[in-house]
Symmetry: C2
Subunit: 94 residues, 2 copies
DNA sequence: ATAAATAAGTTTATAAAATAAACCAAATCT
DNA sequence: AGATTTGGTTTATTTTATAAACTTATTTAT
């Protein structure tokens, strides 16, 4: 029987964000925007959702007076991704 | 760079339907409903969407006077699933 | 020095999707 | 005969994703 898919991760942009963050120490807003080619608004919203459930940590600092948003995946985020991947495999028959 | 994910397939219920149909000759509404535990309304709507894009064929017949909806995957559907799986792999790092 | 364009975001509005609730016709159970 | 269940569809509601508009600061060009 197919398991339910974590609705937070089952979203193209949020999955892309997590996929990028899983491979790096941290990534900032600008980098994520370039890699995903998402609009700033959409990226902002989805980062917030991932943070709210604790899958990523977000650090807002300033570079001079320019804002800088740095994201990194949490242990909970890694675990959620691992379960999501396992669940998806059944759907994809892989 | 991550490829866009087919929005028709990137939906839990539609993916479940396709995942089931890929492994059988055909499946009817009742069977799909049991396997997915979706509501009838939701299942009806999602079957229609998959049919509209040509990923499945739907045959509506009668068993006596009781309606019977039979679904089967098409070649286009198989191809779409294959591409979707390949695209997703990049997101999942597998 | 100042106006115009770009950068880094956030907030609000809109469009699209998923889901649920209501409904219908036929069959079955009491 | 009346109530319940089966196999759906249609319509309404909620949730989600996305885009558009806006803010503050920084460059770039004039």
């Amino acid at each position: 029987m197919l398991k339910p898919l974590d609705p937070i991760l089952h979203s193209e942009l949020r999955l892309a964000i997590m996929s990028i963050l899983i491979g790096v120490e941290s990534a900032d807003f600008v980098y994520l925007r370039k890699q995903t080619s998402a609009t700033a608004g959409n990226l902002s919203v989805q980062i917030e959702k991932l943070q709210k459930v604790g899958y990523i940590e977000v650090e807002k600092s300033f570079n001079g007076r320019m804002p800088r948003t740095t994201c990194r995946i949490t242990e909970a985020g890694r675990a959620a991704m691992a379960s999501y991947v396992e669940a998806l495999k059944d759907y994809l028959n892989i």
